[in-house]
């Protein structure tokens, strides 16, 4: 039986009819239409579906949509400022060649943002551990780690949130 729930995604409130078993990734992608959130495995193994819930990275493919009412959900579409300016992590991924096929990129960037929100100057080991739940098959991670590290520098210098 479908019920109408309200989801706060990127500071917009969406009222969506969902089944209790509907997963957040499907609701975000199909009902809200924000397709930047990717589905790579559907089992919580690859991290491509990562979104932020109240600032923490969550695997939306193993999260029930109904459990997210009253919470603040951030998807990759919510990271760009209204002026069009990119979040420093996004800009850094471009500048450092950390993007290849791009399928892991939204989840990776959101995980990285949450990591840098906790500490803007993480060690390389902390970055590696922080993104270890996000699989990238293209880049070999090196440029992703470099991009996150450099974004952290930018954030510390500019005080961007």
């Amino acid at each position: 039986m479908k019920q109408l729930i309200a989801l706060n995604i990127n500071d917009n409130v969406y009222e969506v009819p969902v089944d209790p078993r509907d997963l957040l990734v499907d609701v975000i992608r199909k009902k809200v239409g924000l397709t930047g959130t990717k589905k790579g495995c559907g089992l919580g193994d690859c991290g491509a579906c990562t979104v932020l819930i109240d600032g923490s990275p969550v695997l939306s493919c193993i999260t029930l949509a109904i459990a997210c009412q009253g919470k603040k959900i951030t998807t990759i579409e919510g990271l760009v400022e209204n002026s069009g300016r990119l979040h420093p992590v996004q800009q850094s991924f471009i500048d450092h060649g950390a993007v290849q096929c791009g399928f892991c990129t939204p989840g990776m960037i959101l995980t990285a943002k949450a990591l840098l929100d906790r500490s803007s100057r993480p060690t390389l080991e902390e970055i590696k551990r922080g993104i270890s739940g996000n699989i990238c098959r293209c880049t070999g991670y090196k440029k992703i780690v470099e991009a996150i590290s450099a974004a952290g520098e930018t954030i510390s210098q500019e005080g961007v949130k």
Binding site: L34, Q100, C104, R129, I131, C138, K142, K143
Partner: protein, 772 residues
């Protein structure tokens, strides 16, 4: 033609597609929704080998929300990427040959309904004996046949003889024979296959959007299976989330979406779950190899004998090509005057093997680089010295008639050895720590189309007008490797503009001009040749106009940095844009077209002058080379191998975009490291896959990222457009043997079976201890 002063080629510019990807705005196939679109799902066989006695889908069809059900008999035409061996069908006909093979497909208003309908399809099977091992498959062929037309359960065999290896071995001072076994691995690209088909009953045209790396071959295969002429089909690639060979053929999502769309008259989308990616596989062939190498007293290779049994799985796929590549790969990157190869590609009841990054090279490279490491020890010299003295140089022609116009392989070996301190460390590190060296190479494009045509492999159309500026049309497939950016850089270089000025229209069989697709590391070289030719035509016409505008002779003008200027009087100059404006105002839109056809060499044994079957497979316009040195730390308690450092040096010719090359190299290193250390698809005795998830099929995470020091060695192939060669598949070649050689240096055990799991390492350590 020597090295040129490039300004657009050779720059680490950000990729054109990066901004939309970091914003989550890139559209992949599964992100698309069309009006009236419905969803398709595929019913799969629980048996690895069985006759299909009956399929009853009446209950499924009666279910509310279900629009259509299809079965194999509705599309019986056989397709295959290699047409001589085409034996695949859209959905199984009469018989299933692997567990997870599709037997029916449903279109319904949503995915949940489609899935529920699958459960209502009743299929009656008569199970047959299951053959999972290629040797058992050959032995029991008299009793169990996987394909009626393959009496030995063998797709194809190859026997190649070059020179006189037997006589050469007889005169060798050092001869070594070893056996090697590689594992069953999957590409594990992150975006599962997805296809969206829209068949318009009124016009009879089909538009298919697909996550694919070979739009042209997909186009042909759709034409065969749907019995539609190619000009009624358009294939478009949205953004593609990785391929690595796994999207290098048409696949069930394509056929099922297209057939269901034709049946319902509505757009149909079929997207795989992750386990379906594993079930349909097309990953790397497990190889069972015997290799024999003979060296003379000075360490020069005199002969190589190679015997390979490839476990192909249920259908042909790329199998015949992969098989002959493994045979070809023994001829480089060392001088081998005499060689023999016996190769067989065997059917088993497993998800089919196919093309995977570095196709055909990875397995024999593993064998050869490990054996040369061991033979260096036999002789008492460094593996580096042995490999260096045998390394090929520019202008080398192998006994199999492979021609290498340019090689900096020796520079790769020297650079990696110097930067890693290999000579100071090898054989001298404390027990448990080791360093290993291996080399490798790969083709930069193939010599033949898979359906044996000699038409150009790539066509590029460049359009110049005041509206779009520069638009490059080419149906090349950017699957994440970044060819669109590289094409823009090369076109900008050739036209004298900036890469940001270039629009690339690719991945579409209607809007793009002909291209074979992304495989065999062919796109940069092939499109580069065609771009140069197309740009020359355009530059000539624009120079004639610019000549009038500047008062110079056209042949004295050069174009660079968006300006035409006289080589003798640089102040006589005019803006590129103004010239285009004048040209289009008087003549109209300007176009130039260019083609690329690879050089055609005979597949012969040069020593005897005789034709050798399959010996032309492996020919390429040029070759990339590389060397990797791995430093490992083996935990003697747990058997776990930790990688400390990787030093790589690669010859990719002139890098068009060095940052992209680094990305290919680093990606390759982790990709191949997974195969060396832990990746393996596992089947139970009935042929059912045990680990079809990214949790149980382990791929490297960031935690496995070692320190990587990669160097692009100074290189420029004067025979290549802009001096380029490949960089996307060569760097996977040395990884496995470099790791295995490092493990030997660490613990004195030479592994010949992949992957090197902690379990396997511990067992070997225990056995070694018992033997001591």
């Amino acid at each position: 033609m020597g090295r040129q002063n490039h300004t657009e080629v050779g720059r680490s510019v950000p990729r054109l597609d990066a901004p939309e990807k970091v914003k989550g705005e890139a559209i992949y196939t599964d992100d698309m929704v069309l009006p009236r679109m419905v969803y398709g799902k595929i019913k799969r066989s629980p048996y690895a080998h069985a006759l299909i006695k009956s399929i009853d889908y009446s209950n499924a069809l009666a279910m509310p929300g279900v629009l259509a059900v299809i079965t194999g008999d509705e599309a019986p035409n056989k397709w295959g990427i290699v047409p001589q061996a085409a034996n695949e069908v859209a959905l199984a006909l009469d018989k299933v040959r692997f567990c997870g093979e599709g037997v029916a497909a449903v279109a319904a208003v949503d995915e949940e309904t489609a899935e529920a309908a699958l459960d209502l399809i009743e299929v009656e099977y008569e199970p047959l004996p299951v053959l999972l091992d290629p040797f058992e498959s050959m032995d029991r062929a008299g009793e169990v046949l996987i394909h009626e037309d393959a009496p030995d359960n063998i797709l194809h065999t190859g026997e190649q003889l070059f020179g006189d290896p037997d006589q050469a071995f007889a005169g060798c001072a050092y001869v070594l024979e070893r056996e090697f076994h590689t594992s069953y691995v999957n590409h594990a690209f992150l975006e599962p296959h997805s296809s969206l088909a829209s068949f318009d009953p009124q016009s009879g045209k089909l538009h298919l959007w697909s996550s694919n790396q070979v739009p042209h071959y997909l186009h042909r295969q759709l034409s065969i299976v749907l019995e539609l002429p190619m000009n009624k089909i358009r294939v478009t690639l949205p953004t593609v989330g990785g391929g690595f060979g796994g999207k290098g053929e048409a696949g069930p999502t394509d056929f099922c979406a297209a057939l269901l769309s034709r049946k319902t008259g509505r757009p149909v989308k079929v997207t795989f779950e992750r386990n379906e990616v594993f079930f349909t596989n097309k990953g790397r062939h497990p190889c069972h190899m015997k290799m024999k190498i003979g060296l003379d007293k000075d360490g020069y290779i005199q002969a190589v004998d190679f015997d390979n049994v490839l476990d192909g799985g249920a259908y042909s796929g790329w199998g015949m090509v992969v098989m002959f590549y493994t045979a070809s790969m023994i001829h480089l990157p060392y001088r081998v005057p005499n060689a023999r190869a016996r190769v067989r590609r065997v059917y088993t009841n497993k998800p089919t093997c196919g093309a995977m990054r570095g196709l055909g090279g990875v397995q024999p490279r593993f064998a050869m680089e490990c054996m040369l490491d061991e033979m260096a020890e036999m002789i008492g010299i460094s593996p580096y010295e042995l490999k260096l003295k045998n390394a090929v140089e520019s202008g080398y022609r192998s006994v199999s008639n492979l021609y290498v116009p340019h090689s900096e392989y020796k520079k790769c070996l020297q650079t990696a050895v110097e930067k890693s301190g290999y000579l100071d460390k090898h054989g001298k590190l404390p027990y448990g720590k080791g360093i290993g060296l291996a080399g490798g190479y790969y083709i930069s494009g193939t010599a033949y189309t898979l359906y044996q045509s000699y038409k150009p492999h790539t066509t590029v159309l460049i359009r110049i007008d005041t509206e779009g500026g520069v638009t490059v049309h080419c149906a090349a497939a950017d699957i994440g490797q970044g060819c669109n950016t590289v094409i823009a850089q090369m076109a900008a270089e050739a036209l004298g503009v900036h890469y940001e000025d270039v629009h690339v229209v690719s991945g579409d069989t209607e809007l793009g001009t002909f291209d074979l697709g992304s495989f065999a590391s062919r796109v940069t070289y092939g499109s580069g040749v065609a771009i140069k030719e197309a740009a020359a035509e355009i530059n000539q016409k624009l120079k004639e106009v610019a000549a009038g505008m500047t008062g110079c002779r056209a042949d004295q003008l050069v174009v660079k940095d968006r300006r035409f200027y006289s080589v003798f009087e640089p102040r006589k100059a005019v803006e590129w844009e103004k010239v285009v404006d004048v040209y289009t105002n008087s003549v109209g839109t300007l176009t130039g077209i260019g083609h690329f056809s690879p050089p055609r060499l005979k597949g012969i044994d040069l020593a005897r002058g005789e034709r050798v079957q399959g010996a032309n497979i492996g020919h390429s316009p040029t070759f990339g080379f590389s060397c990797q040195i791995w430093e490992v730390d083996v935990d003697l308690e747990t058997g776990k191998i930790r990688v400390d450092r990787v030093t790589e040096a690669g010859d990719c010719g002139q890098p068009v975009n060095p940052m992209s090359v680094e990305g290919q190299v680093e990606g390759s290193i982790l990709f191949a490291m997974g195969q060396a250390l832990f990746e393996e698809m596992k089947l139970d005795p009935e042929g059912k896959m045990i680990n079809p998830t990214l949790h149980d099929y382990k791929v490297p995470t960031a935690m496995e990222l070692p320190e990587i020091n990669a160097t692009i060695v100074d290189s420029y192939d004067p025979t290549a457009p802009f001096g380029v060669k490949e960089s996307g598949e060569g760097p996977v070649q040395p990884t496995i043997p470099a790791i295995v050689n490092a493990v030997y240096d660490a613990i004195g055990i030479r592994f010949t079976d992949l992957p090197l799991t902690p379990e396997k390492v511990l067992k070997a350590l225990k056995e070694k201890k018992a033997a001591e």
